[in-house]
Amino acid sequence: EAGVVQSPRYKIIEKKQPVAFWCNPISGHNTLYWYLQNLGQGPELLIRYENEEAVDDSQLPKDRFSAERLKGVDSTLKIQPAELGDSAVYLCASSLMGGREAGYEQYFGPGTRLTVT
């Protein structure tokens, strides 16, 4: 079974430019997560989707970040415009179910390493 797929793996952009990341979750997983991970830190949740619905986006900086999950499968995360402080690894994860029920174990993709210069 294929795991969570993310692309690109690496991205270098200049500040003020837009950037987008793509995630394809494990087939059949209803819940999708986007995390940001700074060097030496744990992942920080940005947004969680249950199917097409964003059920937790409280940590998403909505002035410059946006996300969508059309048709409840693939998802994209966009930053516009990027700032120097956005340099980090962006991780996508999926789980069979969300919330605090059994089956919410998350499976992560390899991440996209963003460098903003």
Binding site: G40, Q41, G42, L45, R100, E105, F108
Partner: protein, 106 residues
């Protein structure tokens, strides 16, 4: 948000030694997960603990969930270089601790 604190932040040991890392919170969790992350990869789930006082073993790794379900520990017996990585705990609110970076020297 239920804050998870992990300790120690860094740990460097020799092959064959035993070690324990901790994940603590002032809040109660219905369950808690442990992950290991290697450089350039996403975290990989090791175990989920759900019952207070529960002990789970995964080869040389022993995971314990505190009786009050506020804390957890991971004990590694006879550590090997392949155990090197960032060990993360996460609560059922999908929030992670900052992790313990373990280095096992041959």
């Amino acid at each position: 948000t239920q804050l998870l604190e992990q300790s120690p932040q860094f740990l460097s040991i020799q092959e064959g030694e035993n070690l324990t890392v901790y994940c603590n919170s002032s809040s109660v969790f219905s369950s808690l997960q442990w992950y290991r992350q290697e450089p350039g990869e996403g975290p990989v789930l090791l175990v989920t603990v759900v019952t207070g006082g529960e002990v789970k073993k995964l080869k040389r790794l022993t995971f314990q969930f505190g009786d009050a379900r506020k804390d957890s520990s991971l004990h590694i017996t006879a550590a090997q270089p392949g155990d090197t990585g960032l060990y993360l705990c996460a609560g059922d609110d999908m929030r992670f601790g900052a992790g313990t970076r373990l280095t096992v020297k041959p």
